[in-house]
């Protein structure tokens, strides 16, 4: 089985972001970037399938500006076999990303596509589902367990009411939730080895996809700030505050 994993480079999830005062966006200059956490779980899942003898090749793709190859190198160090960087300097919408990935899928013909369930910057949670539609594959999003049996996948996914298990025929697409696994930290020799693994660079403009955004971003603003409250000294004061709130609530 051949697996394609798509990974995104984002502002590191531990960084407290700052909105630019002019409303044009979020400050990214000089901010630590890393692989989107959910994508790491997708890479780990692919590597585990390879280690279990269920997959023989893992191709990792990322789309972004120059410098995005660092997240591909991370995936190669974790155990992916080769990388493809689709280079684009401009900001791309999720539909455009999905279309570019669909072009790579058409070339690579993977049996399984793995992605993170969402990116922690735009929080869109679109690309996997879109790519599944564009490549006409069944999807299992928010996966917390993947079992492969020949050409069938059994995926347990985290849904609002609890969990459900889906059966999907390959080729299929799965997006990873945090509970899927614990991503490894690649040891230094693997990091060194990653540099010698093949990494192809393609220009997004050459893939025959219109890169023009559909939506206009008018403004990016910080959320309303909360005013700091008070500290109470006793349980009875706390209980009285709770009672006051409850009495104020309008019954629905």
């Amino acid at each position: 089985m051949k697996i394609l994993v798509a990974v995104k480079r984002v502002v590191d999830h531990n960084v407290r972001i700052r909105v630019r005062p002019d409303g044009t966006g979020v400050e990214t200059a000089g901010v630590r970037m890393s692989m989107n956490p959910f994508c790491k779980h997708a890479v780990e899942a692919a590597v585990q399938l390879a280690e279990a003898g269920k997959a023989d090749e893992i191709v990792v793709v990322s789309i972004g500006p120059k410098g995005t190859n660092d997240v591909i190198l991370t995936a190669l160090a974790m155990g992916a076999h080769r990388g493809i960087l689709v280079e684009a300097e401009q900001k791309l919408e999720t539909l455009t990303i999905a279309k570019l990935l669909a072009k790579i899928v058409a070339e690579e013909q993977p049996d399984l596509i793995l992605l993170g369930k969402q990116a922690v910057d735009d929080d869109s949670n679109h690309v996997g589902q879109m790519l599944a539609a564009l490549t006409d594959r069944p999807q299992a999003t928010f996966a917390s367990e993947i079992k492969v049996d020949g050409t069938t996948l059994e995926v347990t996914r985290e849904v609002d009411y609890g969990r459900e298990t889906l059966s999907l025929p390959l080729p299929a697409l799965v997006t990873a939730d945090l509970r899927l696994n614990t991503p490894r930290n690649a040891a230094l020799p693997m990091v060194m080895k990653a540099r010698s693994k093949p990494l192809a660079v393609r220009a997004a403009a050459d893939l025959g996809v219109d890169l023009t955004p559909r939506l206009t971003v008018e403004n990016i603003s910080p959320p309303p700030e909360r005013v700091a409250g008070k500290s109470v000294a006793s349980v009875s004061e706390f209980a009285a505050s709770v009672a006051a709130e409850v009495n104020e609530m309008e019954a629905l």
Partner: protein, 312 residues
């Protein structure tokens, strides 16, 4: 400018989120509710009594993402807006539909400035993005907790659709977390427990406090990962987004990803041994102390005060 809204339901019941979604959708135009389920009749009947609903369309059929997207695709051409909840169902199906129809969707909307201007949180709610959508068809999901529910109204007409779609993915098993606790994403009061609650048995103490207040119960990811609480209790960037009138956080540090889920809370109360915990600094009312000592006392005090259970 009419709106098709996919009704949210679970286990044969219309979800309370639907009344909130109708409120959001009716800011855009007349709303037709679409109910897709294996057994849709009871859900459709409940849906037809929500005010602001022009009609209810009922399709009997599979509820997997690929089949739902096909059903919606067949209905989409008569509408300017096709919308759903920003729940696991809406997240699954709206982007899939969007790619089929070549439309860039706008999802997780928390405010509607105009029928083509929407605000949504990004970076785990640490920024709000407002976009204009010039496309002829708008594909949207709404964050239900950001909208007040519509009331019950006169019964809307119900129409049955022919829905002969098949599903490639097959549902093998569904595991519901059974409880009589109110729905987390629409409850008026939520009690959240952190990893410091220490065990599933510890969470029974949290539930007991919840029962006293008629509240929903949630947990941090750390508590869920430790196996103390089921995953669908998780509040945060990767869990549920809540907007109760009152959120009581017990032994929760207040990590960015947790805060992302509670920004809509009107009031936040916190109990923690560490006065320096980020959530304690943010809380409207903070009490320093050990949760295992405080909660039993708190339950007793509340009972003494005769705090009434709100119905939400």
């Amino acid at each position: 400018m009419s709106v098709l809204l996919l009704a949210e339901h679970d286990n044969g019941k219309l979800s309370p989120a639907t009344a909130r979604l109708v409120a959001a959708a009716s800011q855009l135009g007349p709303v037709d509710l679409l109910v897709v389920a294996e057994e849709p009749a009871a859900i459709a009947e409940a849906a037809s009594t929500l005010s602001n609903v022009r009609k209810v369309l009922v399709a009997k059929g599979p509820e997997t993402a690929d089949s739902l997207a096909s059903t919606l695709e067949r209905c989409a051409k008569s509408y300017q807006f096709v919308s759903a909840n920003a729940s696991t169902v809406g997240k699954d199906v709206i982007p899939r539909l969007a790619a089929k129809l070549d439309i860039q969707p706008v999802t997780d909307i928390v405010a509607i400035a105009a029928p083509n201007r929407f605000t949504r949180p990004i970076y785990a709610g640490n920024a709000l993005e407002t976009v204009t959508d010039p496309q002829p068809l708008h594909l949207l999901t709404f964050r239900a907790s950001a909208f007040r529910p519509v009331a019950a109204g006169a019964a809307a007409p119900v129409e049955t659709l022919d829905n002969s779609v098949t599903s490639v993915a097959r549902l093998l098993a569904a595991h519901r977390t059974e409880s009589d606790i109110p729905d987390l994403s629409t409850a008026q009061i939520v009690i959240g427990g952190g990893v410091s609650v220490g065990s599933a048995a510890g969470f029974q103490l949290i539930e007991k406090l919840g029962k006293t207040l008629g509240a929903a119960v949630g947990a941090t990811r750390a508590a869920v990962d430790a196996g103390y609480a089921p995953n669908d209790w998780q509040i945060g960037q990767t869990g549920k987004i809540i907007a109760p009138d009152l959120y009581i956080a017990i032994g929760i540090s207040g990590a960015l990803q947790h805060l992302a889920g509670i920004q809509g809370a009107k009031k936040i109360f916190a109990i923690n041994t560490d006065p320096e915990a980020p959530l304690m600094k943010l809380a409207d009312v903070a009490l320093v102390g050990d949760l295992f000592e405080i909660i039993p006392q708190l339950i007793a005090e509340l009972e003494k005060l005769g705090v009434t259970k709100p119905t939400g």
